[in-house]
Symmetry: C2
Subunit: 294 residues, 2 copies
Amino acid sequence: MQLPPLKSLLYFKHAAELGSFKLAAEQLYVTQAAISQQIRSLETHLGCVLFERHTRKICLTAKGKLLLPHIRKAFEHLNHGVQVIEEDPQPSVLNLSVLPSFATCWLLPRISSFQRQHPHIRVRIDPSDSLVDFDAGEADLGIRFGKGHYPGLHSEVLASDDMLLAYKPGLIDPLKPLNEQIKSNHLIMDICPDAERAWRILFDKLALTDVLQPHFLEIDNAALVMQATLAGQGIGMLRRQLIQPQLDLAQLEIHPEFEVACDYQYYLAGPVGHFNWHKVKLFRTWLLGQFNSL
Amino acid sequence: MQLPPLKSLLYFKHAAELGSFKLAAEQLYVTQAAISQQIRSLETHLGCVLFERHTRKICLTAKGKLLLPHIRKAFEHLNHGVQVIEEDPQPSVLNLSVLPSFATCWLLPRISSFQRQHPHIRVRIDPSDSLVDFDAGEADLGIRFGKGHYPGLHSEVLASDDMLLAYKPGLIDPLKPLNEQIKSNHLIMDICPDAERAWRILFDKLALTDVLQPHFLEIDNAALVMQATLAGQGIGMLRRQLIQPQLDLAQLEIHPEFEVACDYQYYLAGPVGHFNWHKVKLFRTWLLGQFNSL
DNA sequence: TCTATGCTTAAGTTTTTCTAATGTAAAAAC
DNA sequence: GTTTTTACATTAGAAAAACTTAAGCATAGA
């Protein structure tokens, strides 16, 4: 016994319960045409008409009325099953998977505010370069710097960022041409696409093509780049979000003539179900608040 | 509460019940890779592992065991609902939608054999050029001559066919060149892609480009083309399946030098559910038997 | 140790589903 | 009795999901 396309059954349920394709479309975040097509496909598959179409409303036919309760029951079971699975196994522990540099420069300096607000939640931060295995329960949520394409996971943008030229106050004189400053200082480079791109853009802008390789200090971690910059070892190409605390404290300065928007953005990502967990909702709210207060 | 992709739940059910992705794949007529991918997508979506993978078998994890009974129940309801809808409303009446020419030349001469075999089934034949509206219950099954693409419907090939040059015995002398015969007789043409194509192939083969238009008698129905041919009004381009009875009775002859396979084939088509109906199963068996006995 | 089995992964293709634009018919408003 | 509005239908083309093929990998069993 061949089942019809399952999605068409879901659409049927919504349309039947709301008595309207239009409302079902809104509820399901698709266009009305999508509903219309799925219902038609279901009807073709079953070989019978399920709705009487009137101009301003639809009614279930006899066959439709026969079908609805079964479909409804079926989806109740599916929902319940998924709900059982998706229950939070440890409501009082929040496991975050975060990029090492973001953890060091952004999250750690701010997390105490979250802990003060929600003292009953224990926060664990797992710094890792790649997304962890959510399936294995290794983390509840991830914060990533990327393009937002995390197949199978729910994700939302947190913020954009810019690459800035940063240095220890006094290291260079912002009134002298940038050109000169670049040539006469060490350049501290993070090995990451956005930083490399920003350097390239800067060089193009200054028409510098002959910068020597040894001029660069390459470090594979933005937090260490910042540390080196803080120590006055040269000029760093750093993300604004990561150095904001240092800028506020005037431990770093940025050159006023340079700024490049990053290709990547910060994303919050994780399995859809996790976003219903209480601890996750609290953290998400706090996180968005932190980004928006800047 | 966001449901996972519904198809992945179906695959999960099969895999869990069979304890094997491979067997599930066979049961669902897909490759084992498809199962593996769907299960992974489900796991990613739920954020937990559902199967322990061992080398030669898989086992449900605790979460998987929790999920299975709900999913199973859900699909039982879906199946039952669809079954209720798909019950045959008139088990003793078989409504066939058939092309007019096929009805006249093929089905009607043979249908009495089916009626003798199954006297309790009343057969109704609805000759129509286009597929009827199965949704409205206008027909149980359709027999079409086409490419087998009937979206939303189940279809299966019944037979292929060839276009032949047919004429009343004695009208032409098969030993004289075909070339001459074509020029000196009326040509009776059906307005249908396969017939037109066959005439074109014939003309190309005979290097005839100067055949005059009035030479042709155009008739928009293969049954009438046959009738005109039977009456000796000219040479017809006809499908073997349609003229077999006349060939057997020597009421028509075919030219031995010409035969072109049709692009189209005969298909049996209808909503999937109809193929479970008793009367449909009987008719299908009979129909296949008729085609195979040729 | 070697082989065979069954799951995984990756790339590319096919199929399905969706959107956007437009059409249509009837109810509601004027 | 028109005109407008509303909700569903239809279409073509774009986007997303699912599938297949082919290769890889780990391990149970010979």
